[in-house]
């Protein structure tokens, strides 16, 4: 066989395959560029050969963490790394690349070889599917949530008060934002208030504001959240935790469209849409006399009940993909997905913390994961530990040692100051609101 014959033979093979292939010398200059590489990048082999690969390949990683440089340095292959290249005619093309060291017959490194696959069609299909199952920031293929997607534009257009009920982490705020963004008020503010995170007096001044001189520290007028949300939407989260006296004031806003800032002598008019949310059963609270029935009926004009994640397990793979995309962008990683074992485990888990818990699990895995796929050992221990118990068989939640210590310190300090929270917060060098939240969290009486 002629000495040139094997080279010709290899050229025929490489030019017949659908994947792009190019090789470089040890300086990173292109020495071979196959037919598929020409088609994907738009550069001809004549234009490419002899040029630095980054000037032809133009991937988003070329200038920061070149795959070929990395394999030449580590001598470890890179497989299926997703990147985006810029073709000769200015089109961004999603591809996956694999890179390896190129050696001569003596085993000496003579350069690198990179193969790449055009993912445009796959990405387009993925996008179509994801759009089908997406509404704003909400992702679901569950039929119940899809029914909600269908009526959400009508709800948004109505300007009625909305009550969203669902366990923690089911996405109440996302739905509230989606309603606001679809409404005529979308260009006005969306203001969120967590009614369960603030003590009564603070919550009142947060909601309605105060005027100069209303109390000792009121040096100037401060607008409340209702004033800030004027012409927009106010989202009252954990409305079931509101005290009876504040419930009366909120009722007045709903009935009269007016409120009085602290220390004011005359009412202020407001034009705000109210979306309330709770993780409690408000009708139950009404029956127990803990929530005003007239306020409940005012809030409950349109009610949305959000199911827990355990009742929409078909959404788990979709949500996992969404969070992977989100954290790849946020953390600059290139994680491709989860292993089959991880997905099986995630599909079985009960998620007492709902979608938020799933998001936290994926975030935890991102921090731990060193490869391009999330494996079992990247997941938090409480998910993988033991027999992957269902929530119903999990033991009662215990305080972590840190929480235990923190609760003890707060309790002791409160005792020292005879229950005075201002002095306690000062001593502990934390804000009054933080102290109040921690007291609630640890159930300190």
């Amino acid at each position: 066989m002629d000495k040139k014959e094997p080279e010709k033979f290899f050229n025929i093979i490489f030019n017949s395959i659908a994947d792009g292939v190019f090789t470089t010398d040890d300086e990173g200059k292109i020495t071979f560029f196959n037919k598929a590489a020409e088609e994907i990048t738009g550069f001809t082999s004549d234009e490419a050969i002899g040029r630095y690969c980054y000037e032809i390949f133009r991937a988003d990683i070329c200038q920061s963490r070149c795959a070929l440089k990395e394999v030449l340095k580590t001598e470890k292959e890179i497989i299926n790394l997703p990147v985006t290249i810029l073709s000769k005619n200015g089109k961004r093309i999603p591809i996956s690349i694999s890179a390896a060291v190129l050696r001569d017959e003596k085993g000496e490194v003579i350069g690198g070889v990179e193969t790449f696959r055009d993912l445009s069609v796959i990405e387009e299909l993925k996008k179509e599917l994801s759009e089908k199952y997406t509404f704003g920031d909400i992702v679901s293929k569950n039929h119940f949530i899809h029914d909600l997607f269908n009526i959400l534009p009508n709800i948004a257009g109505s300007d009625s008060t909305v009550l969203i009920q669902g366990a923690s982490g089911t996405g109440k705020e996302l739905f509230a934002k989606a309603i606001h963004n679809l409404s005529l008020r979308k260009n006005k503010p969306f203001i969120k208030v967590n009614c369960g995170a603030l003590p009564d007096t603070l919550l009142e001044s947060e909601l309605f504001g105060y005027i100069k001189g209303a109390f000792t520290d009121a040096k100037k007028d401060k607008p409340g959240r209702f004033a800030l949300a004027n012409e927009g939407t106010i989202f009252l989260d954990e409305v079931g935790d509101m005290s009876p006296s504040l419930q009366v004031k909120l009722l007045r806003v709903l009935q009269e469209k007016e409120y009085e800032p602290l220390g004011a002598t005359s009412p202020k008019k407001t034009d705000v849409r109210i979306i309330a949310a709770t993780n409690k059963d408000l009708s139950e609270l009404v029956n127990k006399g803990k929530f005003r029935d007239d306020l409940y009926y005012r809030l409950n004009v349109v009610k949305i009940n959000l199911p827990p994640l355990s009742q929409r397990r078909e959404d788990i793979p979709l949500l996992v993909d969404t969070f992977i995309r989100k954290f790849n962008a946020k953390m600059g990683k290139k994680i491709l997905g989860v292993s089959d074992r991880v997905l099986r485990l995630l599909l079985r888990y009960d998620y007492p913390g709902n979608v938020r818990e799933l998001e936290n699990i994926i975030e935890h895995a991102f921090v731990i994961c060193g490869g391009d796929r999330i494996e079992l050992d990247c997941l938090p221990r409480e998910i993988t530990g033991g027999q992957m118990e269902t929530a119903s068989s999990l033991p009662m939640e215990e305080k972590s040692p840190f929480d235990q210590a923190e609760a003890e310190v707060i309790e002791k300090t409160l005792k020292k100051y005879g229950g005075d929270r201002i002095k306690t917060a000062k001593e502990l060098k934390i804000g009054r609101t933080t102290l109040w939240r921690k007291i609630r969290k640890y159930g300190i009486a």
Partner: protein, 119 residues
């Protein structure tokens, strides 16, 4: 006139949207009267475009640039000479001489620059 060249070391960056640095040169006829290098590392696309606007750039000599950026720059009156590769200084010299065109490869060796215009 102000000319900007996205840089990757001393060469023209292959991509405007991820270039780590940009070289801005102020010309009066054929003379360089001022020049500076601005870091672009970590900037998103909007910040890059804002940077060019704030520096009152008239023309960009760059490597790869996507169609969205091309359109946007065109709308704000910045002219783009795209798909230029090779030594940044040589590209600037060719521009000053009035011969630089899209697709030129300024490798510093060949007498005639190779051109491969967008198809």
């Amino acid at each position: 006139m102000k000319v900007a060249i996205p840089l990757f070391k001393d060469r023209i960056s292959p991509r405007f949207d991820v270039c780590p640095e940009i070289w801005i040169i102020e010309l009066n006829n054929e003379e360089v009267i001022n020049q500076e290098k601005c870091t672009m590392g970590g900037f998103n696309l909007q910040q890059r475009l804002d940077q060019l606007t704030s520096k009152r750039v008239d023309k960009i000599i760059c490597g790869g640039i996507d169609n969205f950026c091309m359109d946007h720059l065109g709308k704000i009156g910045i002219d783009v000479i795209y798909n230029v590769a090779g030594q940044a200084r040589e590209a600037l010299n060719l521009f000053i001489k009035g011969v630089l065109q899209p697709g030129f490869y300024c490798d510093g060796k060949k007498e005639e620059p190779i051109s491969f215009e967008k198809n």
